[in-house]
């Protein structure tokens, strides 16, 4: 039984089904109704420093390539490659060190000089000292990807049904209760994304998932002016930061249907759905700085989503030793689309006691003790522990 019909829940259903298990998925909303539907569909290795998350991302990148072969074309899988731009020599030097670590883990990172940058992206503003090209960075249409994975999983699907409680027997999970019925299962996977903390609470355990809001601007359809996923090097620092304040660094990319997407802001403001004009302003300033041609295009839409943020920026994946029968697969922050297949594999392996090519220990869900993290989820120094990126 999987709670959550986002991309992570769909991937768990897909791989659990392939491992021979009978699977059901329940969600209070429609498919891809939460953070999946608000994402850009990034499958990135470039923004992750050497460590457990990068290993998970690399494994996932390979799985997405396989999935693109079997799922319908509508998921719009595109190995477009990422381009990280360094404004000055100092940043470029830091980027080199960062890339060395990534290469050791198996990432293809190619340094490109200022002239080559313009060849890769002709509309890029002049001035950057250089950058790195990451051919493994890819993209899918996230809602399609989730819906097609779910459809291919063969799982029974209950949409529009909110889980209101767990069925427990002698302290072990035996299923869930929804507004309409009881769904019995010997194992329940919490794939509720940003709302995973609430599901954990229903089962009587704490999992400090917090929403980290992000805005995206969508332009009018344009001919291909942006070819890769292009972002400034300070994006990497923003991703790894634990600060609650608004941070912004433009990530600019074209889409097969024409519009250019401009992300990404990060701020912890709870589930606040109001428009932040300041967030839009910063995105616009930074996007126009990277691609001056964008200053004169029209923005058609802006939307926001809530990334499921865990204090150490790693997802919670695997069995929860505190409640037998409960597993977690949530807290992927802004990388859920990219990390979904490997997460699904880890969950399927945990359910069938199979071996995995990756040590799941860093993702264990009970790693957050109330003593280690304050009530707002921040680390003892108030900034979180971001060093593991």
């Amino acid at each position: 039984m999987i709670i959550g019909a986002g991309v992570v829940g769909a991937a768990c259903a897909y791989y659990a089904g392939r491992a021979g298990l009978t699977v059901a998925v329940v969600d209070r909303g429609p498919v891809a109704g939460g953070t999946t539907g608000a994402g850009e569909g990034n499958l990135l290795v470039s923004d992750k420093g050497a460590g457990a998350e990068l290993d998970l991302a690399l494994w996932s990148a390979g799985l997405w390539r396989e999935l693109a072969e079997v799922l319908p074309e509508r998921i719009e899988y595109e190995a477009k490659g990422g381009l990280v731009v360094a404004p000055d020599e100092t940043t470029l030097k830091a980027l080199r060190t960062f890339a060395d670590g990534q290469r050791a883990a198996g990432v293809h990172a190619v340094e490109v000089g200022a002239g080559e940058l313009r060849e890769l992206e002709p509309h890029l503003a002049p001035g950057p000292a250089g950058g790195f090209h990451y051919p493994q960075d890819s993209q899918v249409q996230p809602a399609q990807a989730a819906a097609r994975l779910l459809a291919a999983s063969g799982a029974e699907v209950y949409l529009g049904e909110e889980v209101t409680g767990f069925l427990l027997e002698r302290g072990a999970v035996r299923g869930v209760r929804t507004g309409r019925r009881e769904l019995r299962a010997p194992a329940v996977v919490n794939a509720a994304g940003t709302w995973g903390g609430r599901i954990a609470e229903l089962a009587g355990v704490e999992l400090p998932v917090l929403p980290r809001r992000g805005f995206v601007l969508v332009t009018e359809p344009l001919p291909r002016v942006v070819r890769h996923k292009v972002y400034a090097a300070d994006y990497i620092a923003d991703v790894a930061s634990g600060s609650a304040a608004l941070q912004s660094s433009a990530v600019v990319e074209g889409t097969p249907s024409g519009p250019v997407l401009i992300g990404a802001t990060r701020e912890r403001v709870g589930f606040d759905r109001s428009l932040s004009v300041e967030a839009l302003r910063r995105l616009a300033v930074q996007a126009a700085a990277l691609f001056p041609v964008l200053a004169d295009v029209r923005v058609l839409r802006a939307y926001h989503g809530f990334r499921p943020y865990l204090p150490d920026h790693l997802p919670a994946i695997g069995a929860d030793p505190r409640v037998p029968g409960l597993l977690h697969a949530c807290g992927h922050e802004g990388a859920g689309i990219g990390l979904a297949p490997a997460t699904g594999q880890l969950i399927a392996a945990a359910l069938t006691c199979a071996e995995t090519p990756l040590d799941p220990h860093p993702f264990r869900p009970d790693r957050f003790g109330p003593d280690r993290f304050g009530p707002d989820g921040s680390g003892p120094d108030g900034s979180g522990t971001a060093a593991t990126r």
């Binding site: 809602a143 529009g160 304040a245 608004l246 249907s257 839009l280 616009a284 996007a287 029209r298 939307y303």
Partner: protein
Amino acid sequence: MPTSPSDRGADPVDLAVVGAGPAGLAAAVTAAGLGLRVTVLDAGERPGGQYYRHPAPGLGAARPETLHHGWAAFARREAALRAHESAGRITYLPSHHVWTVVPDGGRWTLHAVAGPEERAAAVRARAVLLATGAHERQLPFPGWTLPGVVGAGGAQAMLKSGLVLPGRRVVVAGSGPLLLAVAGSLAAAGARVPAVVEAASYTGYAGRAPALLRNPGKIGEAATYGGALLRHRVRLLTRHAVTEAHGTGRVEAVTVARLDRDWRPLPGTARRIPCDALAVGHGLVPQLELATGLGCATVRAADGTIALELDARQRTSVPGIWSAGETGGIGGAELALAEGELAARAIAGAAAPAALVRRRARLRAFAAAMGAAHRPGAGWTGWLRDDTEVCRCEEVPAGCVREAVEDLGAGDVRTVKLLTRAGMGWCQGRMCGPAVAALAGEGASSPGGAAPDRRPLSCPVPLRHLAELPATDG
């Protein structure tokens, strides 16, 4: 480049009115008359909104009032607007598309795209009245994208502002009282109208007699249309619909079929009517982007559309934000005038005259009765073929939407949009929204609150406007 007439640092005005149609205009002149400093921002070039349309000046039309009901009521308020403007009590900003309203330290800031050169403009205000009106409800059918197929409201607008006819032989179809008015205007202007094809049954009014009887003026209006149609020998087909438009390059004929109670076309009843234009419309849909962007609560109105939840004094659920006219449920120009005036009085802290309150209640009841009678039946999607384009901007056919709903687990407009791109194009779902909602099965069973997808930008905004906004602390 001219500078913005309203610098951000300037003192806030007492009231910003968005929209200069009947509701906004009535509110602005009432509020200014009660001593408030008012700024009116309107997307149009001249006051009047979608309803009161001036013929383009070059046409030399001497008597626009012949095409309008209540032109005098409008002319009076337009004159008052000009007088207040010269006295400095009202700042009137035409060609200003407001794209968002944001809270700003107990005040409100309205951001707009101004003029053909697309300048950035901002206005600060203590209170905001949203009088953003409505747009036409379109239900697609095979062939609806052919040239010669126009909106019924659009045909009326063409006639009012350009004095041009969409064709010489024009079928008028859809549902709602506007069809009779449009057919009457077209016939009076010289077009042949072979049929008015109305999907609802006028016997649907029978159960709502009290609301109708309390509105003798409205019945008189209908009688006028009926008389005009008789005079021009226009045939009225009720419980019928145009289920397909035919033609190569341009509409040449339409198929008309009889409907059951749920608007399902009945097999064996189809027949062709030759024509060179089709004016089609299914009533109006409140335009709520700014209001829902602010988080204003909504309700489902009798006609099936989503409208704002307003109290007796026209307040939305967000303190400081008011609304009047079609945003609170489609009700027509007369109601919009009354509500605009009521809202302005409430904002100025003045009492509401009892007669005005009664008039609003009477007209609202009438609007609800009409809305219920013309609410589209669930069976209309039966005339959509899988290859019928539903979203014109993104070219999404009905079959694609059906697949998303039946095979992929989409049960609402937002998810259909995410999966198919329907509603992601230039019009941002204004055109296809009602059709997609019906195909997704949304609305039929949800009595209220089914909030439309939030759209933080209510119209396209040049990126450099966003970049040039004053910086604030995140």
